[in-house]
């Protein structure tokens, strides 16, 4: 069975990255005044394993670096050398480089050879110095230590070995038989015939073996077919090796892990013999319980081939449900075959059963995507260690709730925000030791990170016992930056929220994260983008807590469908506290634009969503409407809707893929009838309504018809003599043309789902096979009087690139006309006298079949508008 190199490579990379994580944790936890030798042994084994594997897979630089580290660690574990803090820092640096090399291998990008060699040189030099200071009699011979010692004296030892080999030149294997008293192994390596086609090479494994001790090799050519019948791409050779080393058997087998399966390698003590190949196969076919424990390791390692570790329990649950689905399907098939109306109840039962199982399956598959937050937490100790060292502070970290699970995609999105909050805590929160002691605090500051689940959300707190936030300084800065005025009265919470505004990200702070431009404003945005929110509690002098509330999953949500006007909208169930039919008697108008409602012995503010989104409301009667009470930042708010529809799970689609973020809308979904429904961002809606307008970005999108210069994508130089094909369409009696390469497809006109707070010419969004596509009424965009759709009205779906991202936009046209070829050189420019405000969107004029056709630059026409809206 062919072995897939790529699969091995992926496994090697994933496991090595995990090993790097463990090595890093071990290094950070080493007590220098009482070094635990078992920890050093563990480090040695991990590095040794990586050295062998990387050598066999052809990663020379990685193997070289690992080799120098292995030598160094061998000195430490042998008590020849005592570790100090500088060594720990150097080892951590080496781990960073190994990690970078693994990622380079993963992404097939070049490594930084200079950095690698720098660290290799440092450790080589260290090793030489350590070795030179060891008293002669204490130096281990190479065969016993299993570690190649990189010193000049090795050359003398090597020379003596060569001299011994010289004597045994004729029968190396026979000579090995005489050395019964020497420690070592006999190895028979019989690789699979197609090993040469997998990219791995037996000679690399031999090279690694050679480093473990004195080796004698004999190749068995008995299986080689006669030349020229033999296929040189297949391997017909068997190797019999004698290796003199004290390296344990499992480490010998590890050398072959990438080039052989269990049956291909036989390892016995040197004092034993290995049978010829045919009988060896029988001998190795032993019952599983008799196999040495070490032989099971390679199988165990190969089980985890994915980047998300999944328990067998989760897999078993999914398989069970799939089995139930098969049953449900056969029940329905049976009913459908002999269907009569009398069977309809059974049909409903069967559909209900199917529905139940699909939901279960969905839930279980979602659970597979969940990974523990510990994945992020494990990165933090090293992060704090480096940061605290740089800032000359002492910081302890306490984490709790690492086993709390979060959707994998969510985890990736909040990883950087959490690290930034930690950085913030170390940088601005925790004081230096002497300052802390003056305040009566312990010299070491404490950062706590706590994760737990609560009502369909995950809560992550990042807190510190540092200096806390100074409300007065924040207020002064906010006034200085024009975010608030002198007269504004803000609660502590509102005041602290100001630090998430862009003006508060201080450029003077230089860290690994701020080098990528991540300030607290970006942390806020990232959290909001995943449907979460972030609040701050702080007491000056005592410390601060940043609390992130995040949905458990990004992809699927339990929702309430509602109607506002003629459209269906979605509200996430987790945001809903209660739904009540409005009692007009409990409604009070504070002023023309503001209402309150008497709910649970208090008055809560009300937002009428139809007014908020400028949706025509034919039914003004409140008594027929419903109130959805939501809890946002521990405040109840009521949202008035027209009708309550069903509850269901929805798959969340991103609106920004092809349009842009609309404040108040967190995404979209596709309903069972194929129409798009928008998902309301309840928190954003409420915050806008209740907070000072100056704190929140404008909801309104201003439209400008000013000429705008947009950056052009890099494009090939046009060949003006090469004909270009155009598609033409009619609009208000005029014919227009667009480059056919920009046309994705043409569809019959359909009413789009209304997009609140969008320009007048945006006619909503439609569903194009799961992709949410905004549509533009070109008549309105051109300032032409709009008209009712006719039988020929069509939507042309365009595809174009903006900022290296492919986007889809639909344009509504009166009728599709023709296709034709145009030589660009023949395109006439628009006359100078033409005063159209859309002049810059017109590519030129062409005459085709006695018709004057205006050729449009669709990219300018459509994407400029989006750019303007983004800038507003």
């Amino acid at each position: 069975m062919p072995m897939d190199t790529n699969q091995f490579l992926q496994v090697f990379i994933e496991e090595s990255l995990e090993a790097m994580q463990e090595i890093e944790q071990t290094l950070l936890n080493i007590e220098l005044d009482d070094v635990d030798i078992e920890k050093i042994n563990s480090l040695f084994r991990s590095i040794h394993s990586m050295k062998s594997s990387s050598a066999v897979l052809g990663f020379k630089s990685m193997s070289e670096l690992a080799h120098t580290l292995e030598t160094f660690l061998d000195f430490v574990r042998s008590n020849v050398y005592q570790l100090n803090q500088q060594d720990i820092d150097l080892l951590l640096e080496a781990v960073d480089i190994l990690r970078l090399m693994l990622n380079s291998a993963k992404n097939n990008t070049p490594i930084n050879e200079e950095e690698t060699q720098r660290v290799v040189s440092i450790f080589k030099s260290k090793n030489e110095n350590i070795y030179s200071e060891i008293p002669e009699k204490k130096k281990k011979p190479e065969a016993e230590s299993g570690v190649r010692e990189e010193t000049k004296k090795d050359q003398k030892v090597e020379k003596k070995k060569e001299e011994r080999k010289e004597e045994k030149k004729e029968t190396p294997v026979a000579a090995a038989v005489d050395k019964k008293n020497e420690a070592g192994w006999r190895i028979q390596f019989h690789p699979n015939r197609n090993i040469l086609q997998t990219g791995t090479d037996p000679s690399r494994a031999m090279g690694v073996l050679k480093e473990l001790g004195k080796m004698e090799v004999e190749v068995d050519t008995s299986s080689l077919p006669p030349f020229p019948e033999f296929n040189p791409e297949e391997c017909f050779l068997i190797w019999n090796i004698v290796l003199y080393t004290s390296t344990p058997e499992n480490e010998i087998r590890e050398v072959f892990i990438w080039v052989a399966n269990d049956e291909s390698v036989v390892v016995v003590p040197v004092s034993e013999q290995i049978s010829p190949v045919k009988s060896v196969k029988k001998e190795t076919a032993v019952p599983a319980e008799k196999k040495p424990a070490a032989m099971k390791e390679p199988v165990a390692q190969l089980e985890h081939i994915t980047s998300v570790r999944v328990t067998t329990e989760k897999i078993d649950n999914i398989l069970n449900i799939v089995g139930e689905l098969v049953i449900a399907q056969s029940v329905i098939n049976q009913i459908a075959k002999d269907f009569e109306m009398s069977l309809s109840e059974r049909l409903y039962e069967g559909l209900g059963y199917l529905d139940h199982n699909f939901r279960e399956l969905q839930a279980n598959v979602m659970r597979v995507r969940m990974v523990p937050v510990e994945y992020i937490f494990s990165r933090i100790p090293r992060f704090i260690h480096d940061l605290a060292s740089k800032m000359d502070k002492q910081v302890d970290l306490i984490t709790k709730g690492g086993q709390t699970e979060l959707d994998k995609n969510m985890l990736e999105k909040i990883s950087d925000p959490i690290l930034h909050l930690v950085r913030n805590a170390v940088d601005h929160g925790i004081e230096r030791s002497e300052v802390r002691q003056e305040k009566g605090k312990s010299a070491k500051g404490i950062i706590k990170i706590n994760a737990h689940q609560e009502s369909g959300n995950i809560i992550i707190d990042v807190s510190d016992d540092g200096g806390g936030l100074n409300r007065d300084r924040i207020r002064a800065k906010a006034i200085e930056r024009g975010l608030i005025s002198e007269s504004d009265q803000l609660t502590d919470e509102e005041m602290f929220q100001l630090i998430f505004q862009p003006g508060f990200s201080t450029a003077a702070v230089i860290t690994d994260i701020s080098g990528r431009g991540v300030g607290l404003d970006v942390v806020y945005k990232n959290v909001r983008d995943v449907g979460g929110d972030i609040t701050i509690e702080s007491v000056e002098g005592e410390g601060s807590t940043f609390r992130m509330r995040l949905p458990l999953t990004l992809a699927i949500m339990d929702c309430q469908l509602i109607r506002i006007g003629e459209e269906t909208y979605i509200i996430p169930l987790v945001t809903i506290t209660e739904i009540i039919k409005i009692d007009p008697g409990q409604l009070n108008y504070v002023d023309q634009n503001n209402m309150i409602y008497h709910f649970r012995n208090e008055y809560i503010p009300i937002i009428q969503l139809s007014l908020f989104f400028n949706i025509p409301d034919p039914t003004a009667e409140m008594k027929n409407k419903f109130l959805i009470v939501v809890d946002v930042n521990e405040q109840y708010v009521g949202l008035i809707i027209d009708e309550l529809l069903s509850q269901q799970q929805v798959v969340i689609k991103n609106l920004e893929d092809n349009y842009q973020k609309i404040t108040g809308i967190s995404g979209a979904t596709i309903l069972g009838n194929g129409r798009v429904a928008l998902i309301l961002d309840v928190t954003a809606i409420v915050e806008y309504k209740l907070s000072s307008a100056s704190l929140i970005q404008n909801f309104g999108i201003s439209i400008s018809d000013q000429n705008i210069v947009i950056e052009e994508e890099q494009s090939e130089i046009e060949d003006n003599s090469k004909p270009v094909q155009f598609l033409s369409f009619l609009m208000a009696g005029q014919e227009y043309g667009i480059d056919i390469l920009e046309v994705k497809e043409i569809r019959k006109w359909e009413r789009g789902t209304y997009l609140p707070n969008s320009p007048h010419y945006i006619k909503g969004v439609i569903n194009m096979r799961g992709v949410i596509v905004p549509i533009i009424d070109l008549r309105e965009r051109f300032g032409i009087e709009s008209c009712e759709q006719g039988p020929h009205t069509a939507i042309i779906i365009l595809v174009m690139k903006l900022h290296h991202k492919q986007r889809y936009i639909g344009i509504v046209v009166d009728q599709i006309a023709d296709t034709f070829m145009v030589v660009p050189a023949e395109i006439q420019p628009l006359p100078d006298s033409e005063k159209s405000v859309l002049k810059e969107h017109i590519r030129g004029l062409i005459t085709f079949q006695n018709k004057l056709i205006t050729l449009l630059n669709m990219k300018n026409l459509i994407l400029v508008a989006i750019e303007q809206e983004n800038a507003a």
Binding site: E162, K165, E166, K169, L196, D201, P202, S203, M206, G207, K210, E216, V217, E218, V219, T221, L224, P226, F227, P228, F230, P232, E233, C235, F236, L237, W239, N240, I241
Partner: protein
């Protein structure tokens, strides 16, 4: 790799690669060389890249040459070739010179 007949010998200049990438072409050359039934001299000082596939091919060829009583020898084998042949236990079978 290329070959020619000189003074009743076949000269095989191995080039820089004796590896998986070049084995099919080299196999074709070896078939022709065997058919010529003349003693063989390998010039191998330029070899910089060797792997198991390349050495297996050469080994198979030299074993076939032995069977047909065709002699061969090596001139200036590169250190890379020697090292790889050693690792794979082929030095003696290939009759590579022992210049340790």
């Amino acid at each position: 790799m290329d070959w020619q007949i000189e003074d009743q010998h076949i000269i095989i200049r191995c080039g820089s690669h004796l590896d998986k990438e070049s084995i099919q072409d080299q196999r074709e050359i070896f078939i022709k060389v065997l058919a010529a039934k003349k003693p063989i001299i390998f010039y191998a000082n330029d070899i910089t890249k060797v792997d198991t596939a390349g050495l297996q091919l050469v080994l198979s060829f030299t074993l076939a040459a032995s069977k047909h009583n065709i002699a061969w020898e090596w001139r200036e084998p590169s250190s890379v070739l020697m090292r790889e042949a050693d690792l794979l236990g082929m030095r003696n079978l290939l009759k590579l010179p022992d210049n340790r």
